[in-house]
């Protein structure tokens, strides 16, 4: 006998709950062999129900070997109609050519625009810093970060969303597999590491700049969760010159990673203890030297504690890091197979592209799991 569910109200009044949560996925060949985006597109598509089509994106490492010594800037020009986009590009070009040597630039190849909602004009520039005057005293990284912040906060409708060497982000509004197809990641690019994100935006409107990954130089972040300490983190990062302009909480993790890892040179083990510190009663049980270290970190870096649930994949040249909040309120599964290293919201997505795995585990909350290239020389050569 079948039970009939009686609809108490008419359909349009009912709130249709979607099963949802963001999806994150990462794959890395630790021997540095490069592979196309096809497999990660397949894997992320298997977690289709975790997103809602309002954001998808990829970070790919090792895709520009011919321009590996140049910073690859990916720009999006938004605005209504092509005129607004071109006007933003004109303004950006003037700024860029004044401050950088641009060796090559082109529109990023893409598929049919009709399949996606309001795609911006997306352009890439391969550049070197053109430091003048006092700027010659600062590092390339600081120079570039300063200029990116200037563009993102001063030039209307122009956003630098990728800026590392021999790597690039591709993102937009749509399901990640659609974004992958739009930018033809399965055909045009080969990378030794890919990270991917399928978005279910919770607090802000979906737009192209707000899709993941968020990045600065070669550091990229894809994130499942919600940073409830965003206000504090943002205020602290602004003191160091980071302007949060992309209207999504994840942005602060990218800038915090840049501040702690590039500018302050801290190892990931310490950075993890800053972003996701152990709670006080766990610190109380530690030995004296650990207690002193952890207490100091919590004091000095209190405003960089990321509160709220998160699972992130941090991509950098030559490595891929998985990290969750300290009580793992969002899932992450790690796996290895030969030279391949995987991170995913769900194990099934890994199994789909690699049915046999050597090891599968779920890392403890707040403990980073790191995959590194066996030889950094492979990428850097």
């Amino acid at each position: 006998m079948e039970f009939k569910i009686i609809m108490p109200r008419i359909r349009r009044e009912l709130y249709n709950k979607e099963i949802c949560a963001c999806s994150i996925f990462g794959a890395m060949n630790q021997d540095g062999e490069r592979f196309t985006g096809a497999s990660v597109m397949t894997a992320i598509a298997n977690m289709h129900v975790r997103g809602n089509g309002l954001g998808g994106g990829f970070a790919a490492y090792g895709i520009y070997p011919d321009y590996k010594d140049y910073y690859a800037f990916h720009l999006m020009f938004t605005g209504q109609g092509i005129a607004a986009k071109l006007s933003a590009k004109k303004e950006l070009d003037a700024f860029l050519f004044q401050n950088f040597e641009v060796v090559y630039d082109e529109e990023i190849p893409h598929g049919d625009e009709l399949n996606l909602s309001d795609p911006p004009l997306v352009w890439r520039y391969f550049v070197l810093p053109k430091k003048q005057g006092d700027d010659s005293l600062i590092s390339d990284g600081d120079y570039i970060v300063g200029k990116i912040m200037w563009v993102n906060s001063r030039i209307e409708n122009a956003y630098v969303f990728s800026s590392g060497k021999n790597m690039g982000c591709f993102k937009g509004v749509g399901y990640p597999e659609e974004i992958g197809e739009y930018f033809m990641l399965d055909k045009l690019y080969s990378a030794y590491a890919w990270t991917v994100h399928g978005r279910f935006p919770t607090n802000t409107q979906a737009w192209w700049g707000g899709a993941h990954p968020f990045s600065l130089l070669d550091t990229t972040i894809v994130h499942n969760g919600e940073i409830s300490s965003y206000g504090t983190n943002r205020w602290y990062l602004e003191m160091y010159g980071y302007a949060c302009t992309l209207q999504t909480d994840t942005e602060v993790i990218a800038y915090a990673a840049d501040l702690l890892m590039r500018r302050q040179n801290l190892p990931i083990e310490i950075v993890a203890k800053i972003l996701a510190p152990p709670i006080w009663n766990a610190i109380d049980r530690m030995n004296d030297s650990e207690k002193k270290l952890l207490t100091t970190l919590r004091m000095v870096y209190a405003p960089l504690l990321m509160n709220g649930p998160f699972a992130v994949i941090i991509g950098q040249t030559g490595r891929m890091i998985g990290l969750t909040d300290r009580i793992r309120l969002r899932p992450i599964t790690a796996a290895t197979r030969g030279e391949m290293f995987y991170l995913s919201s769900e194990e099934a997505s890994i199994r789909l592209i690699s049915p046999q795995l050597d090891r599968v585990w779920t890392p403890n909350g707040g403990e980073p799991v790191v995959g590194e290239l066996n030889s950094m020389r492979t990428v850097l050569q």
Partner: protein, 270 residues
């Protein structure tokens, strides 16, 4: 997941009438809703045994199989089932030949689940009846708010160890962790907010790993008979771990029980 035509066939065509042979479903590219709809159709048509192959992330497998007549089915899953496997399970028997993801047995009412591998987070969440056996380890928040009611007393046996928050807000039932890999229990916040049920840990645990609401005590003869019953089933069901029944039962166990049935009764009483 792209929709695809569902492939279904009987293993031995000549015995279809007896309805005792397993029906085969190839779950390649089959969506969650479609797969569960097919399971329900098969159950209503009288099938007793179904093998699902190429499972890859489909959620809620085994839910939506309630009938007033309490029809029962055996479901064997080959592959990696998605989250909330066997949610609200009503008397069916599910075997996973591989690992399971998060939320296995979410609010299950009755039946049996065997996982020949590991399980993810929130295993046995709000479970109120039936039995779950997991051969290897499990993730965070295992047995979260597991409960019991009258004759319903859920049982969860895990061959490995659990991560933090095992038995959080536990209100009833039995959770047994055998730690067969011989690692010590590393989880923290065990039994935080626990106010019913019992957790048995093979080996030992530090008081600092356990919530303030929890008593740690040695086991007595009654506890031994409970362990005997469910560990026997575990060992029988997973022969690959070897004949370790005697060894396991003769090991040291500790019992975790709540100090109070209402640990927070005074929380807002000023």
């Amino acid at each position: 997941m792209a929709r695809a035509v569902l492939f279904e066939s009987s293993l031995k065509a000549d015995q279809i009438d007896e309805k005792i042979n397993a029906v085969l479903i190839d779950a390649t590219d089959v969506e969650t809703k479609e797969l569960n709809g097919r399971l329900r159709d098969l159950m209503l048509s009288g099938e007793k045994k179904v093998n699902i192959i190429n499972v890859c992330g489909q959620r809620f497998i085994g839910t939506r199989l309630y009938t007033p007549e309490r029809l029962k089915m055996e479901i064997d899953i080959f592959g990696t089932p998605g989250n909330d496997l066997a949610a609200f399970l009503n008397g069916h028997k599910i075997t996973v030949h591989g690992n399971a993801q998060d939320g296995v047995g979410n609010t299950m009412d009755s039946g049996e689940i065997f996982v020949e591998g590991r399980a993810g987070d929130v295993l046995g969440f709000s479970m109120r009846g039936g039995e779950i056996y997991v051969r290897d380890n499990c993730g965070y928040r295992t047995a979260l708010h597991m409960k019991e009611y009258e004759d319903k007393r859920p049982v969860l046996v895990v061959g490995g160890s659990a991560q933090d928050f095992l038995g959080e807000y536990m209100a009833g039932g039995i959770a047994i962790l055998l730690d067969l890999q011989g690692q010590t229990h590393k989880a923290n916040f065990i039994g935080t907010g626990m106010h019913g049920g019992v957790i048995y840990l093979r080996g030992s645990v530090m008081p600092s790993q356990v919530g303030e609401q929890v008593d740690i005590s040695p086991i007595n003869d009654d506890d031994r008979s409970v362990l005997d019953r469910y560990v026997s089933r575990f060992v029988e069901r997973f022969p690959e771990i070897g004949n370790r029944l005697e060894e396991i039962l003769n090991s040291q166990f500790v019992k975790l029980t709540p100090k109070s049935k209402r640990p927070y009764s005074n929380l807002y009483a000023y």
